[in-house]
Amino acid sequence: MLTELRIAGFGGQGVILATHILGRAAAVHQNRFATMTQSYGPEARGGAASAALIVSDEPVLFPYVSRPDILVVMSQEAYTRFAPEVKPGGFLLVEEDLVRLDQRAQGLKIYGIPATRLAEELGKKMVLNVIMTGFLCAITGAVGPEAVRKAVQESVPARFRDLNLQAFDKGLEYGRQLLERGPLTIENSEEVPLESEV
């Protein structure tokens, strides 16, 4: 099985680290094939940050992701740019306080989480990316939670280890509860106009 995912948001939200943690979990702790790429061009400076990951049971041949199965967005700009690329029926995971949905999300399985708020409750806004990794594990099952937990431990400075593990567990728990309620879907485009038309 081959899963393509993209995580995107503002620079500084830890988009690259979150993707790296998931890739490390799959490659090192699940012994699967994982290939991560990130954008390095002028578009990667300032505003939008984005990284992509392919996780597969076979060697990864084509390195780039153009039609992700899973998109995680933590900013409106990232949503606007990348939501149209998600495969029909794919997962759209959003930071629900930062992203307003529109018809671009039509046909996708949408799950929202107030990751920034949850991170602030834990005491540090910067762990929102790790909350998102837990959330992604719970909702999509793309990478195993135990593997990701180990990768989180290995990927953050020792003094922030406990905080990040709490963040991971928080995202995982929130996702598991939300999963029981099922995804939000946008079916009728008339009710949700495009952002530019609002």
Binding site: H20, R24, A27, V28, V60, L61, P63, Y64
Partner: protein, 385 residues
């Protein structure tokens, strides 16, 4: 000889090709590097600058690439293993000193993380546009070895190989990565130090006075002595005799230049490094190298699903080119297909070796991304007709 355990980061990592190349250089015994950092190769020396001092090494940021490519040769003649790292624009500036390294038989490694060219081109996007430059970029006749990795794992493994080959043949070795490879993150397994073979310098055992720095050994490669050890050594880019002294005449030129080419030519069979799959009975064989070999495999799988007998041949060592192998292969297939991230470079060599025995179909690409596998599939189908 094995790698020094102090420098080997044994374990399973999730790192990019640039980081893996740096770890390979350290494992191979490089303690010194110089460079003028340039995207997309910067991460290699950024990491080296942090790691090397832990083991008594050093990275020097030079004023430009011309200086970088000569100071590493000073490091080597001072007894160290050294390398430099660059991308297209810097590689162009290094050409003069690649010739010097070939002429003085200085074992040194040049890493080129290729980006779109010509000129400043596409700093953050891939190409394989420097392949001919790697072979022929400096003036005069000389030979080099050029390796092309296709994964971060190979960026580690083959960097070690590059250093070992440089020592074995006393040639500059070109390590031809590309932006995609450098910035792609995958699993990299670094073995224990005692499982990493490291080739020591071919240091002379002769006492001072009885040593001639350019006296060829049985494999045409001379032994080496370092500055400051009591030997009289004179290292010059001028045509020199066996003592190393300038000898500016046709006879000395013939002896020296012939040997510089011949030491690699004689070893050509041993230097064939390819990975093949299903070439027996194939109608079409896709020949590729570096990142393109992975993308091509997707097209090959699709072609096989459509019933075409396709084999693959991946060049791990691009220079010297596996001439004999290609010549024999060309006799057996309908077509050789070569996709590469340039407008047709190594395919010229492929055509030369195929010598009209089969169709040779290039799949050129100006770079900036990798091929669409559909373009390669189309060429395979054309070749099978």
């Amino acid at each position: 000889m094995h790698a020094d355990p102090r420098t080997v980061l044994t374990g399973t990592h999730f790192i990019n090709g640039d980081a893996a190349c740096c770890e390979g250089a350290l494992a191979a015994g490089a303690r010194y590097a110089a460079g003028y950092p340039i995207t997309p190769s910067t991460e290699i020396v950024e990491r080296f600058a942090a790691r090397a001092p832990e083991v008594g090494g050093l990275f020097i940021q030079m004023e430009d690439e011309i200086a970088s490519s000569i100071v590493i040769q000073g490091m080597v003649w001072g007894g160290q293993k050294a390398f430099t790292v660059t991308s297209g624009p810097g590689f162009s500036l290094m050409m003069e000193h690649i010739g010097l390294a070939a002429m003085t038989e200085t074992p040194v490694v040049f890493v080129d993380v290729q980006r779109g060219g010509p000129s400043t081109g596409l700093p953050t996007l891939p190409s394989q546009g420097d392949m001919m430059q790697a072979r022929f970029g400096s003036h005069g006749d000389y030979a080099v070895i050029a390796l092309s990795p296709n994964s971060p794992q190979e960026c580690f493994d083959l960097t070690i190989k590059a250093f070992n080959l440089a020592e074995e043949f006393r040639v500059p070795v070109m390590f031809m990565m590309d932006e995609c490879m450098g910035h792609m993150t995958e699993k990299v397994v670094i073995p224990p130090a005692d499982q990493i073979e490291v080739r020591p310098r071919r240091h002379t055992t002769r006492p001072p006075g009885q040593f001639r720095p350019y006296e060829p050994g049985p494999d045409l490669v001379p032994e080496m002595a370092h500055a400051g050890e009591g030997h009289k050594i004179y290292v010059t880019g001028l045509t020199h005799d066996r003592r190393g002294y300038p000898s500016l005449n046709a006879a000395a030129q013939r002896e020296l230049v012939t040997r510089l080419l011949e030491k690699i030519r004689r070893a050509a069979e041993r230097l064939v490094m390819v990975e093949t799959d299903q070439i027996e009975g194939a109608e079409v064989v896709v020949v590729s190298y570096g990142i393109t070999s992975r993308v091509a495999l997707r097209a090959v799988q699709e072609a096989r699903a459509r019933g075409i007998k396709v084999g693959t041949l991946r060049l791990i060592c691009v220079w010297p080119f596996p001439e004999k192998l290609i010549r024999e292969l060309a006799r057996k297939v309908k077509a050789l297909v070569m996709p590469e991230l340039n407008m047709g470079q190594v395919v010229i060599e492929l055509e030369r070796c195929a010598a009209g025995q089969c169709k040779v179909i290039g799949v050129p690409h100006p770079g900036g991304t990798v091929h669409d596998p559909a373009e390669i599939l189309e060429a395979i189908e054309r070749g099978a007709q």
